[in-house]
């Protein structure tokens, strides 16, 4: 196993970089963080739209949410990868495709968490904010969302954790993220499948567990503040 690591660690970490595109663990991490960073504001926006009093805002978002949630992520990856270039005429790279799909998927799930959190907050919070003269957007930003996000933090974190794992689906369109690289390594050495996939599993575990712990610490610090 040590020999395995010794031979392939660089390939595992960055793929064929600098001779080819960046891959491996670096790509997985980059893709995950990119998706998280973009999906949060997107999800927040969709979530707020989902509870809008205006039907013309609420319905399109509800349709999008229901549609995306009812389709397997894998299929969306295929669709965007093969269908989108046919429509736009521009070939979308594997990494870009995956990023778009993750942001869309994540955004939709986060939207549901945000919307549920807003609905669960006692009506009196919005009423008292509005009765002080705050506008609806101000009341959302200053009173409703800070509480919603804090209460929803556990659900948000599990969504973010599943985003990290979902990057592995890039494998199917030949994106050279860490799972793809692991498979390549396995083909090269041929006899050490168990070890290769054990290291892969351990890598995902460290990423995801690390994020959970980080969130846990954050939660505890916020709990102490109030």
């Amino acid at each position: 196993m040590l020999e395995l690591i010794d031979t392939y660690w660089l390939y595992f970490l960055v793929g064929q970089y600098p001779d080819g595109p960046l891959g491996g663990l670096a790509l997985t991490v980059l893709l995950s963080f990119g998706a998280l960073l973009l999906a949060m504001p997107f999800g927040l926006l969709l979530g707020v739209a989902r509870v809008s009093t205006r039907r013309s805002i609420r319905w399109p978002v509800a349709t999008l949410v229901q549609l995306v949630r009812a389709v397997p992520l894998l299929l969306v990856v295929f669709w965007v990868y093969f269908f989108l270039p046919a429509v736009t005429g521009v070939k979308t790279g594997q990494a870009t495709t995956m990023l778009m799909v993750l942001v869309l998927f994540d955004g939709v799930y986060l939207a549901e968490i945000v919307a549920a959190g807003i609905r669960a907050l006692p009506k009196g919070q919005l009423e008292s904010a509005r009765s002080l003269g705050l506008s609806y957007p101000q009341a959302l930003r200053l009173v409703v969302l800070p509480q919603t996000l804090r209460n929803g933090l556990p659900s948000i974190v599990s969504q973010l954790v599943s985003t990290i794992k979902a990057t592995s689906l890039g494998y199917i369109i030949g994106l050279s993220e860490v799972s793809f690289i692991a498979t390549q390594v396995n083909t090269l050495v041929f006899t050490q499948a168990v070890e290769v996939y054990l290291i892969l599993a351990l890598t995902y575990f460290i990423l995801c567990f690390g994020l959970s712990r980080l969130a846990f610490l954050l939660e505890r610090r916020m709990a102490r503040a109030s």
Partner: protein, 242 residues
């Protein structure tokens, strides 16, 4: 200062407010009482448009509050509202609760807002709790902070919607004390309350409601010693038995 003219409100088929016409003068303290379900809370909530009405007009300082183009946020900023369940913001400290609206509505700099909020907290006897979070306070304390929070916008009118109904009996007095001193400072107040002692002592006028209608309006003296309608007589008898 506040004029209601033939105000009507329906919840579906239910007629919640029936032809309500009433005036509240500047510096006046009006107590609205009546059995539960009589429309008191609905009425007071129409005054800052937390509830919309289906007919009639309400004007404040001569301006129709449902007029086209009226800025409802500005209207509300000029009317303090105190809720039965306090509704403090749990993610903010006592002081932050009181400075949130004035600062974000650009009514004051953070420094000015803090100074004034501390003044108000002093008045309600809670300056020492400025950095506490609402969950760490008793109900009576929370309600006093809620009053300070409303006052922080310097509203010329204060509305109270059953401010002591959710409190343990031993905490009612501290909240009524704050309301009493506000009344003595000349604040224009409309209070929905079941506290008949407070009504008798502080109110300039009592409005008695039943089933969405105003049945009586009278000086406290007259109302308590000589109620005109059987419903009011029954209501007062029930209060005394408690």
């Amino acid at each position: 200062m506040i004029v209601l003219d033939k105000v009507n409100k329906f919840y579906g088929d239910y007629h919640a407010l029936v032809d309500i016409s009433e005036r509240v003068e500047k510096n006046e303290v009006v107590v609205v009482c009546g059995p539960s379900g009589s429309g008191k809370s609905t009425l007071i909530r129409t005054l800052n448009r937390l509830e919309e009405i289906d007919g009639g007009t309400i004007s404040i300082d001569g301006r129709d509050i449902h007029a086209r183009g009226l800025d409802v946020d500005r209207l509300r900023a000029g009317i303090g509202f105190v809720f039965q369940h306090f509704n403090l913001f749990p993610h903010l400290t006592v002081l932050e609760n009181c400075t949130l609206a004035p600062v974000n509505l650009k009514r004051a700099s953070l420094k000015e807002a803090r100074e004034y909020a501390l003044d108000l907290l002093q008045q309600v006897g809670l300056a020492h709790k400025r950095d506490a979070y609402p969950n760490a306070l008793s109900g009576g304390q929370q309600q006093r902070v809620a009053i300070a929070r409303a006052l922080a916008m310097r509203p010329p009118i204060m509305l109270f919607d059953e401010p002591t109904s959710a409190l343990d009996p031993e905490m009612v007095g501290e909240v009524l004390g704050v309301m009493r001193s506000l009344a003595h400072q000349g604040m224009t107040m409309v209070c929905v309350t079941h506290e008949m002692g407070f009504a008798r002592e502080v109110a300039d006028r009592i409005v008695f409601m039943s089933e969405g209608e105003i049945l009586e309006r009278a000086k406290p003296e007259d109302f308590f010693t000589n109620p005109q309608t059987p419903r009011a007589q029954q209501f007062l008898a029930d209060r005394r038995r408690e």
